[in-house]
């Protein structure tokens, strides 16, 4: 019966019809899919203390654990360029440097004997203190948490260890091509000195003093700049009372504003980092992305899924599966909460197919104009987002962390519900519109980290190439292992 179809011509001719018939007859479509039972995940209790501190309490009695996270506004983006890396050191030594009455080592011993953690950290826009403990150790561990929060000592020996650790990572930052690509792509997208892209250097790390850490701490820890979330096996009324007792007397301070940060994307063109000990090129094409509160966010989410998201995306299908050019390929218009994300298309391919892969990405982007994301792709992308939506809130701690993020960035607390509704409404026209609005190949910077002598064609056959010098500036005398 199938013999009638062995002619290639017939196959091509009837492809559309065949696909349709077959589509309805496949077995998997006959498997019943019952309605998903209604699910209303437990919502955390939100409490705003009179001093402005916001607390979320999320009970979860499955396991005898209590975990907490405090997030404080202000992070690495607020640090002057000359001290880049300050919050990395702060985020480490806040905890390792101990408190007025106990060294960090003593805290380590005390906590580890209870298999508990109290840790501090920092990111671009905030610093954090967290704890994790067995329920019965809560009071012991919470006291340590408060001590770290209120009485850090930033002992000098631990500052030195933190700085040496950073010198080490600076010295290693060109060892791995994907790390170089990530770092340099961010600089091309945001601008080399932009706080979201710049990196710590020996000189900026060595410029950080204990006084900087003490000052940072003194000027940042105000109740109205703090959000706390607790999840686990506790009684909310009792936990609320305990937190009020601990934090009600904390002072209010000046509200931290999102800093004014300028973005200076690189000129369009080709940028090259030469690396001779590799046989694969890391390619990233970048431009500035957008923010999550942009009304285009929903259409962009659908576009990203269809174009460069999962297994069913165009980039995956074309560049990986059909052309066999890459293991890692993907991309889309990146979004962040309160500043533009990166628009990025990336592929890693053997040196011999570097130019071929750039052209393959070009072709997919150019194809958006004459072969817009079609109804089938839109449906697939929306199904994928909406049917997996439940995994955004299938555990109490996920719900808690979503809410804390909305609170931190001033998003509506029902952002997730809005997101679902927003995705449902996205049309083919919306996706075509955002693709045309955001994807401008001629405005993108193309970064290649690769072994130039093995390329299929010289990179400058595509256009003018700027060579990037990624040499690590030498450490000043007396640091970073200068033992003479």
């Amino acid at each position: 019966m199938k013999r009638a179809l062995t002619s290639l011509f017939a196959l091509v001719l009837f492809a559309g019809v065949q696909a349709q018939l077959w589509g309805q007859a496949t077995d998997w479509k006959q498997v019943p899919i019952p309605k998903l039972p209604a699910f209303h995940p437990p919502q955390p209790k939100r409490i705003e203390l009179p001093n402005g501190m916001v607390v979320f309490l999320q009970e979860d009695h499955e396991l005898p654990l209590i975990d907490g996270l405090m997030r404080i506004r202000g992070g690495e983006r607020d640090v002057p360029a000359g001290k880049a890396g300050l919050t990395d050191i702060y985020g480490e030594v806040w905890r390792t440097g101990g408190t007025k009455t106990q060294t960090g080592d003593q805290l380590d011993d005390f906590l580890e004997q209870r298999a508990a953690k109290v840790e501090t950290g920092a990111s671009e826009d905030s610093t954090t203190v967290s704890w994790s403990c067995l329920k019965e150790d809560f009071e012991d561990v919470f006291k340590v948490f408060l001590d770290v929060l209120e009485n850090p000592e930033f002992r000098a020996d631990k500052i030195e260890i933190a700085q040496k650790g950073m010198y080490d990572s600076i010295s290693r930052r060109n060892d791995n091509p994907s790390q170089i690509a990530r770092r340099e792509a961010a600089k091309l997208s945001y601008g080399a000195t932009n706080p979201y892209a710049r990196v710590a250097e020996y000189t900026t790390v060595s410029a950080v003093t204990r006084e900087d850490l003490v000052q940072w701490h003194k000027t940042r820890l105000f109740a109205n700049d703090i959000i706390v979330g607790v999840v686990g096996d506790f009684d909310s009324a009792k936990m609320e009372a305990r937190l009020r007792q601990a934090f009600a007397s904390w002072p209010k301070g000046p509200a931290v504003k999102t800093p004014e940060i300028a973005f200076a994307p690189a000129k369009p063109g080709y940028y090259l980092v030469e690396k001779t000990d590799i046989n694969q090129s890391n390619i990233q094409m970048v431009a500035l992305g957008t923010t999550r509160n942009n009304p285009d966010y929903y259409a962009l989410s659908v576009f990203n899924e269809a174009f460069g998201g999962g297994f069913s995306s165009r980039l995956f299908n074309q560049i990986r599966t059909t052309k066999g050019l890459a293991y890692g390929v993907g991309g889309g218009v990146g979004t962040a909460w309160d500043h533009p994300g990166m628009l990025r298309m990336m592929v890693s391919t053997k040196s011999k197919s570097t130019v071929e892969s750039i052209q393959a990405l070009d072709q997919e982007m150019a194809g958006l104009a004459n072969r817009p994301i079609d109804d089938g792709e839109i449906k697939q992308a929306k199904d994928s987002i909406l049917n997996s939506f439940i995994f955004r809130f299938d555990s109490p701690d996920k719900v808690l962390h979503e809410k804390m993020a909305y609170e931190f960035y001033g998003y509506p607390l029902d952002f997730l519900e809005k997101y679902q509704a927003g995705i449902e409404k996205v049309t083919k026209e919306d996706v075509a519109r955002v693709a045309a609005k955001y994807i401008h190949r001629e405005q993108m910077a193309v970064l290649v980290v690769g072994n130039v002598s093995d390329f299929d064609k010289p990179l400058d056959s595509l256009g003018p190439v700027t060579k990037l010098d990624v040499t690590i500036p030498a450490p000043p005398k007396g640091i970073a292992g200068d033992q003479q």
């Binding site: 060109n174 590799i278 995994f391």
Partner: protein
Amino acid sequence: MKSRSTLTIVVCFVVCSLALSQDLASFEKRTTVKRLSNGLTVIICERPEAPVFSFFTHVDAGSVQDPMGKTGLAHMFEHMAFKGTDKIGTRDYAGEKAALAKVEDAYAAYIAERDKPVDRDDQKLKQLEQSWKEAMAAADKFSAPYTNEFGRIVEGEGGEGMNAFTSLDETGYHYSFPINRLELWAYLESERFQHPVMRQFYKERNVVIEERRMSVDSNPIGRLLEQFTEEAFAAHPYHRPTLGWISDLNSFSATDAQNFFDKYYVPSNMVVTVVGDVKASEAMPIIEKYFSRIPARPKPDTATTAEPPQNSERTVVLHEMSQPIYLEGYHRPDYRSPDDQVYDAIADLMSNGRTSRLYRALVRDKQIASDSAGFTGRPGTKYPHLFAFYAVPIPGHKPQEMADAIHAEIERLKREDISDEELKMIKTRAKADLIRSLGSNEGLAFELGLNQARYDDWRELFRSVDRIEKVSKADIRRVANQTFVPDNRTVGIIEFAGGPPGSGAAPQGGGQ
């Protein structure tokens, strides 16, 4: 202060043990195991926290089972398990099957000419390569409109975290679905291990070669680990890279992958675990209905060459344009050894957090490393393997200083009993870690399935903590003295060898 902490530990101990026995009792009530008539084992664990579930399919075959000259084949098949079946990913399977057979014939002819030791005809080779490519293009016509159909279905139906892994020991497949897709999952998962189709094999092989370029060839640590492991195992297949040697990757065929599947993906070699908002009484009949379709086949012979005693120190040194690393490993027995938890205890003592001995010695006190740890399970655990130590020297310090500092800590372990506090800390942490691991469907599915596969009983997940409870100070000294001896040691080092101007590699500090 000190005495108070000790007291609290004792109290905590009792409470923890209680919590754990409660946990095992609770899991007994909500965990069901069934061996189907074809030999496949199904575990269902009820965890009704949200209307979702996760699964983990454990296949007891990994790169150790790669045939001679075909390293990387187990991993290659794992990729092929996403390529669909005779019903998923094709528009006409009968036609496609014939076309794929032609691809195999053409490939075999091409390889035969390519690998001729003498008298290779380059003109003919070109023609044969061309015929092979044409055969592939013809076969692709049958699947082209359904590229990645399997993954497309899973994603479109709300699949989350779809992925798989291959190790030397085993292969695993996993993702999560909303609970109303349980039957769909049972259909899809049983289907792909009943009728996998090796379509687009040679393109996927190129994808896998790119994976190798990314994680080994273009990554100094990947290169070090490959050379190090290859050196440590002379006889046992643990010397193989899971990703395969490049000449094997450029040689094995779709037929080889199909043969690997036929031999090792037999139901009695598989454990399928489902964890989530399911009731065993309702889910088991559905799972049984679909997975029973996989025909029973004989269990494969899995004999391997045993690694002989090492009896000589071995060293590999890589002269790289990247910063130095120090690594060393010692042979130890497999996971069934009565000392398995003693090794776990040593790893915890030496490596876990800022109280660990290696952190305190190398990072805090000597300030010569940014990181140092000891770990077990390299490159697998099913067969005798390595307990390894590493250290990352900070600028100005050399690998040899790392070796000396690690050896000093090892000698201390051999010579002196560890303290009461340390032993209690290890045991308390083991219990707390277990409790923390019980709160996710994905994690549980993996752990229950792995323990069932390895010990034929998922309860070993809980019993391993009982065994760590029995570890004594004398055990730690005994095992350290037995294991950590120079003739049982393999060393792997990256030495910084400088880089050409503009390569981006800067010398470390002033010491180089």
